[in-house]
Symmetry: C2
Subunit: 272 residues, 2 copies
Amino acid sequence: MQKRPPDRLNRALAHLAASPGKRLRPRLLQAAASAVGNESGKTLAINAAEAIELIHTYSLIHDDLPAMDDDDLRRGQATLHVAFDEATAILVGDGLQTRAFELIASDEQLSPQQRVDLIVCLTKASGFDGMVGGQGLDIEATEQALTLEQLKNIHALKTGALITAALVMGGIVGQANSAQKITLEAVGDRIGLAFQIIDDVIDVRSDSATLGKTAGKDSAAGKLTYVTLMGLEAAENTATHLYEEALGLIDGWGPEADKLRDLLARMVKRDR
Amino acid sequence: MQKRPPDRLNRALAHLAASPGKRLRPRLLQAAASAVGNESGKTLAINAAEAIELIHTYSLIHDDLPAMDDDDLRRGQATLHVAFDEATAILVGDGLQTRAFELIASDEQLSPQQRVDLIVCLTKASGFDGMVGGQGLDIEATEQALTLEQLKNIHALKTGALITAALVMGGIVGQANSAQKITLEAVGDRIGLAFQIIDDVIDVRSDSATLGKTAGKDSAAGKLTYVTLMGLEAAENTATHLYEEALGLIDGWGPEADKLRDLLARMVKRDR
């Protein structure tokens, strides 16, 4: 049996590798693994970090498809279905999801219990009760007016769940105690929402060249965002408040959490 | 956070549940778990069996999409993108894959080691090195003439790998010894190929009403099949020979393997 993807899928994977994105989720995961006091946390987290990035990447590929958000530009280059074709984009997304769980399940640096805990966390965050469910709500929402609460719920599932999972998965790798895990989850909930609010702010303020993806798309599509619901200034203030809350939650943590603090700051203080 | 998929995804899942298909892979998995001599194998295998069926179901949903095989009929009812829309079909397929790994990872009837072994087996069989890779080759193949060896390779990846995985996963649940696992893999390789050959035979002989999916589609599309490459009679003889080999491999197994023997027979002696 052959041991690598067929030529077309390989070329599509190379296309993706050529513009790797910000790798926020793997960096959060590794920072959380170190932050809970496990010195080798970052090294131990390599497979789990790669896995969460693969889940994020697969979701972008499928979200960009013509039947979904129909986007041509991602990370500064043509989306996969534009550079190749829709069938390739569907298959590559499917295969990346599979590969994510394979990476964790086969990670012999971690105990089998850690591996199943990581997979349970990642599946809950990315499946029907998380990212996929949020995307489903998002599709339904384009047909109706949304309240701020509904918008928050969509974002919590679609984007927030995976960001929270990155932190909690870091905790699992770093063998966090229960209190640390609860804190990481609370940090994730706040910074995930702040991150999405800032995304909306940037979507209004930026242009496609800076962004590496289509700018002003949500507002042009008449889609409700935090900015349209709250106004620009209130949206920015809310994001700052959530960020400060998140930071406060790990106030008592030592210098081993500095990398995590730094990442949280970058998630709200950015222009793309 | 809400704990169930949004309304549209729920309705799509209900649509799928209304016509469950033959459930061949879960039945093979459970039969293999019993066949290796573990009396409670069948009960212990419930989550793993459900998981492999979810992987198979997600692959059908995505394969039926307009960008892939563009099929309107599956298991006697409208395919998901016809009954709903393409976005829903993409998302439901994605979520079913995620759910498969969640089911195994959270199965507390099995040891963490068994769970990671099951996930490694299922990911290898269904990802780039298996089902997804085979589908990728299949797409490329429609553009060029195939040899019999190339066709076998596509089928081994696209269909055979998951059938073999069903048997090996049954072995993992039933705590098979190494020799039993190797035998189950060899049985899977043979019966998987036989199963696909019979599929081609049926595609030529049957009509859509009996089949529950579009009949004569492969030959109408000028797609190479075992029947077009070998002729009808030789294809049937090859399938019978492979089935007899598979049966011979478990000749020394006791009556606890009778259910497995019965399933192997049904895989080649069928008209739909």
